[in-house]
Assembly symmetry: C2
Homo-oligomer: 313 residues x 2
């Protein structure tokens, strides 16, 4: 209690020449060069019978490329057209695919092994992480401090040795490997009991608190970058695990296509997670200094620092 009162007193005594920027303001001020274009060929566009659209960015190498390759084949085969959203479980996932579980799959899909849930932290990745650490250290050293921030920012992660961001994605590190993280909006591959790993035909996205216990147990293949509200606001299913109990409750999928097949699709870009802008944004997420806040948290978990994505200007 005493420390809190002291912090409040320090804040009152410090002259504030101008209000500190909110994380969204730091993102808005990021230079053009800190944004990375997302190729249309790396997007998956889902159009629903309701007329609503959901845009998914597929994961880049080295992550989950066996499943991503399958998803490209399924989209090319128009396999999902006429399938449906079948499951909406509150604070968990929205899931889609073939409700009948009888539709024949393309013959050339890969069977991906369980060891593909985690990837080796090779030299290229270690170099990116090291370069990034230098940027973070520099940004934190020069950050505008509204109050006496004597403690380093906590980024401790109960699910891994280190949680952070890498090449635009939420990534955890540990046991000599790296793996993608189940944050809100991430897209994963439904599967049966192990050693099954799923093909990619059955997909889900997270619509609640990050279900991190799924990390390293299920493949992550992308994230929703536009239209998540068209999934997260659907009526919850009342059957076990949130499956819809009646066929007429399912939401029909008109089509799923790779973005380069779609006319007039906006161009999307994400804020480079290796940029100084991202380091300042993450720092501000961990220690809010904009006027609404009175006690900065002192830390943040990886899923509470979502990677900014926008339509390119």
């Amino acid at each position: 209690m005493k420390t809190l009162l002291m912090l409040a007193a320090a804040a009152a005594a410090t002259p504030a020449p101008k209000a500190a920027l909110a994380p969204s303001e730091i993102v808005a001020a990021a230079p053009k060069g800190d944004w990375v274009a997302i190729a249309a060929s790396d997007l998956l566009v889902m159009d629903l019978a309701s007329g609503k659209r959901v845009v998914i960015q597929l994961m880049p190498p080295p992550f989950s490329q066996g499943w991503v390759g399958n998803i490209r084949k399924l989209a090319a085969a128009k396999w999902w057209d006429g399938t449906s959203i079948n499951r909406v479980q509150d604070n968990y996932v929205v899931q889609w695919g073939d409700a009948t579980e009888k539709k024949a799959l393309p013959a050339d899909l890969l069977t991906v092994l369980q060891n593909q849930y985690v990837f080796p932290a090779d030299q290229r990745i270690m170099r990116i992480l090291s370069d990034k650490q230098r940027i973070v250290t520099r940004v934190v050293a020069t950050r505008p401090a509204r109050i006496n921030e004597t403690r380093p920012i906590r980024m401790s992660d109960p699910y891994s040795a280190v949680g952070g961001h890498l090449i635009g994605w939420p990534i955890a590190t540990g046991d000599g490997g790296i793996w993608p993280v189940h944050c809100y909006g991430m897209v994963g591959v439904g599967r049966d009991m192990p050693p099954d790993t799923g093909t990619g035909a059955e997909l889900y996205t997270v619509i609640g608190h990050a279900p991190r216990h799924l990390d390293r147990n299920i493949a992550l293949v992308g994230r929703v970058i536009s239209g998540i509200e068209n999934l997260s606001s659907l009526p919850r299913g009342t059957g076990p695990l949130g499956f819809y109990e009646k066929p007429e409750q399912r939401v029909t999928i008109m089509s799923i296509r790779i973005g380069s097949e779609i006319k007039d699709l906006p161009r999307f870009e994400y804020l480079s997670t290796e940029s100084a802008s991202f380091a300042a944004y993450a720092d501000a997420r961990a220690n809010r200094r904009d006027p609404f806040f009175i006690v900065p948290a002192g830390g943040a978990d990886i899923c509470n620092i979502p990677v900014p994505v926008r339509v390119a200007k």
Copy 2:
């Protein structure tokens, strides 16, 4: 990678006399004595014009009692009747109250100070925490290990010194104080810029990843224990911060009453966070050993261990 392969090999080599229980199965098997009845007088019942109902459990002492007292007065005055849900921001909050911001408040509401966001960890609380630690240690020592679990469970929290559960609620500890945590479904008090702390007339609930940066910055007064899907599945507002842009988009609140005023309300109970059942449940959430999982996480964050609540049998 190597460690993962070894874990998988160990799992295959270990004879499995029976499958380990899933967290939900541990909860279902908890003895009656591990459940704590929630008094109807500690519930807030919100009935929407749609006919849907949302039930909120109010926070117990020592937490946030100034605001909880105001909320009891507002309910007694039928102040919310005819107000509305005005804001639905994806992956953040649903907020309700008087959209006109002109409705007169009861005259006897307290103005609560900012120092009430955090509470001293007094002797009674320290004793509860210490008793609980003994139970956790015993449960973890005797847990069924499907695989070689040599590491202690990680419960590290980037937002506090210790995150855990206390008297049925998600609570963080640090700086000599304790405070409630913004998990999914928690209910908080909207406010203006500090030093305003809000009255309790404007409320919100979390419908996304835990916005822990709000901890210690806004009062938490309860949690939704039934009907959260009637809020989380509402259409997202398209105005700034997810406010509905047109009055007709708002969802009218028919009434909000204290539970003891409601006829035929089910009796609710929660799993004591100081019970051996809860310790086993939390352990199983951190290290899933049920057959679907191949790699136990080794840890969990506080909001990924929701306190089980059910209708009493």
